[in-house]
């Protein structure tokens, strides 16, 4: 486990929204799903696209802004055409009002799925 890195304050991202955060040169998409925070890679695995410019659909999926393919945010799994390859997830640690990320670990849900 590496040193958790601060992503943002909880108040900075309202529920149902996604935002891009650059951490050590790594572009992450950070999500607030009904008060629970998640982080994934920001780039789509299908074509050049920033997932943080997409929309959260069906409560816990991110729809790519380019071809409208979807990924399951907690696990990173591809859900619909044309997405075939999972996006990388990251472990998010909530500490009071802070949201931190551990770049060395998958999200809990993804780890469980593996």
């Amino acid at each position: 486990m590496s040193q958790p890195i601060l992503l943002l304050r909880k108040a900075d991202l309202e529920a149902g929204k996604v935002r891009k955060v650059d951490v050590n040169g790594c572009a992450l998409a950070v999500y607030n799903l009904d008060g629970t925070f998640y982080a994934t890679q920001d780039g789509c695995t299908h074509a050049t696209a920033s997932l943080s410019e997409g929309e959260i659909v069906d409560d816990e999926c991110i729809a790519c802004p380019v071809h409208d393919g979807t990924f399951h945010i907690p696990t990173g799994q591809p859900m619909s055409f044309p997405c075939e390859h999972a996006i990388r997830t990251y472990k998010v640690i909530e500490d009071g009002e802070d949201v931190l990320v551990d770049l060395d670990q998958e999200s809990d849900a993804a780890a469980d799925a593996i």
Binding site: A47, A49, G54, V66, H67, D68
Partner: protein, 457 residues
């Protein structure tokens, strides 16, 4: 050697330039009330209409109520050009040709809906609702080729604007403003689209049908031809209201033709005459209750137009009927065919049961199976089809009713004619048609009509 004699072989026969295009002035003698049938049949004239009328004029493309939210869109036509009209995130409206700039496929196959993006089925080019190219399938290969995405968005429609909830667009960057284009017709449009403070909305869906007629037969009918109703629609009227169409030719003092820039409205002042053909007494009551309130806001004359015996065409191919509340565009499909798109419009603040009655009423009267639409369609089909005859086509048509009915001493905007049994609006429609067909740009289109209304009303 097949050309051993040295003469130039004739390899291609070239069709002579169509005389009709070269001699447009010969097609119309409006002062004499005469016009050529070529305008309904000639393919070169039709092609020129696509360029000089449909790729130039402001055309109705949607009602605001069809696309309230960001990403809401309708797919419609400007001439034969398929366009997408899309509500933007900032509330503005944009339009694009519905074709992928890569290999030309349609990017949207639905008639209307809500989209986050438009993705081409062929190679996965994906466009934002602002028309910008956002990405493609196998995007790395385009990046390797150095392709600049910003140069390959959907082709934008030149201008989009709206008036009283009606959205219009033009494909010509040099077109005048919509306010200029509609001009003094806006005064009359308010009688229907601003009769109630909440404005209007479209309800139900779009009903489409194909009629084998030239688009101008439909437009000219609605621009000024109430004359046909007493004859063509006699049986339909008897079926719907139990009596013949009102004999409006006997009371010209209470009715008018008005036109401006080729748009035209023929109207009576009977408040409910059109509406009565729907056979719903509750609708008549609704209009009678509303009329005094309209009179307060818009004055006596316009309050009596809200459902009266009347019809209107906005040049070139959009028409509606007050009272019957059908709104329609006659999309050209070659010189001998139209695709008719119709909607029902109602006052937004009207009670739901009133809206439902109007929706059913328009279906009973002005839908493919409607009693009046069927009457009209057959007439227009044979008015068009008979011109296939080579000799028939050489014969003129008459369009001369109502000479000397111009009302000069009036405060009413536009060109005003006494008596709705008239062909003044039809002549103005064809004059505008000719002006546009002869002009190689908007700058050379004659400004015949002098507006009384101020620009920004």
């Amino acid at each position: 050697m097949c050309n051993a004699n040295g003469d130039q072989p004739i390899r291609l026969k070239r069709r002579p330039i169509a005389q009709s295009i070269e001699n447009l002035d010969q097609l119309l003698s409006l002062e004499q009330g005469r016009m050529s049938r070529d305008v309904f049949w000639d393919k070169d004239i039709y092609e020129q209409e696509m360029e000089r009328i449909f790729a130039r004029c402001w055309l109705f493309v949607a009602h605001e109520s069809q696309i309230p939210k960001a990403g809401d869109y309708v797919s419609t036509y400007m001439g034969e050009d398929n366009v997408l009209i899309v509500r933007q995130k900032d509330g503005s409206i944009k339009g694009f040709l519905n074709t992928c700039p890569h290999r030309g496929n349609k990017v949207c196959f639905a008639d209307l809906g809500n989209a986050r993006q438009f993705v081409c089925n062929y190679h996965g080019w994906a466009f934002g609702i602002d028309g910008g190219l956002k990405g493609m399938h196998a995007s790395e290969t385009y990046e390797a080729a150095g392709m600049d995405k910003s140069e390959h968005g959907l082709h934008p429609v030149a201008h989009v604007d709206s008036y009283r909830g009606l959205i219009f667009a033009t494909l010509d960057p040099d077109a005048p403003s919509l306010a200029d284009y509609l001009g003094d017709m806006r005064y009359y449009l308010d009688a229907v689209f601003d009769m109630d403070e909440g404005g209007t909305e479209f309800i139900g869906g779009c009903v489409k049908s194909v009629i084998q007629c030239n688009w101008k037969y439909a437009s000219e009918n609605f621009v000024g031809d109430i004359l046909h109703a007493g004859w063509t629609h006699d049986s339909g009227a008897k079926a719907m209201v139990g009596g013949p169409v009102a004999e409006v030719h006997k009371t010209p003092e209470q009715s008018y033709h008005v036109n401006f820039n080729g748009h035209g409205w023929e109207f009576n002042q009977d408040i409910v005459g059109n509406c009565a053909t729907l056979g719903e007494k509750e609708l008549l009551k609704y209009l009678y209750v509303l009329q005094p309130k309209v009179a307060e806001r818009l004055g006596e004359l316009r309050s009596k137009m809200i459902g009266a015996i009347s019809s209107c065409t906005l040049f070139p191919n959009t028409s509606f009927l007050p009272g019957q509340n059908t709104f329609r565009t006659w999309h050209p499909r070659g010189p001998g065919q139209i695709e008719l798109h119709t909607w029902t419009f109602v006052n937004k603040k009207a009670p739901q049961e009133i809206k439902d009655m109007w929706r059913k009423g328009t279906m009973m009267t002005f839908s493919p199976s409607g009693v009046f639409e069927m009457d009209d369609g057959e007439n227009w089909e044979y008015s068009t089809r008979s011109n296939a005859g080579f000799v028939t086509r050489q014969q003129d048509l008459y369009l001369g009713l109502g000479h000397d009915t111009r009302v000069e001493d009036t405060d009413l905007p536009g060109n005003v004619y006494q008596g709705q049994i008239n062909e003044a609006n039809q002549r103005a429609f064809y004059q505008r048609w000719l002006d546009l067909m002869k002009a190689d740009s908007w700058k050379t289109v004659p400004q015949r009509d002098v507006p009384k209304m101020k620009e920004g009303v």
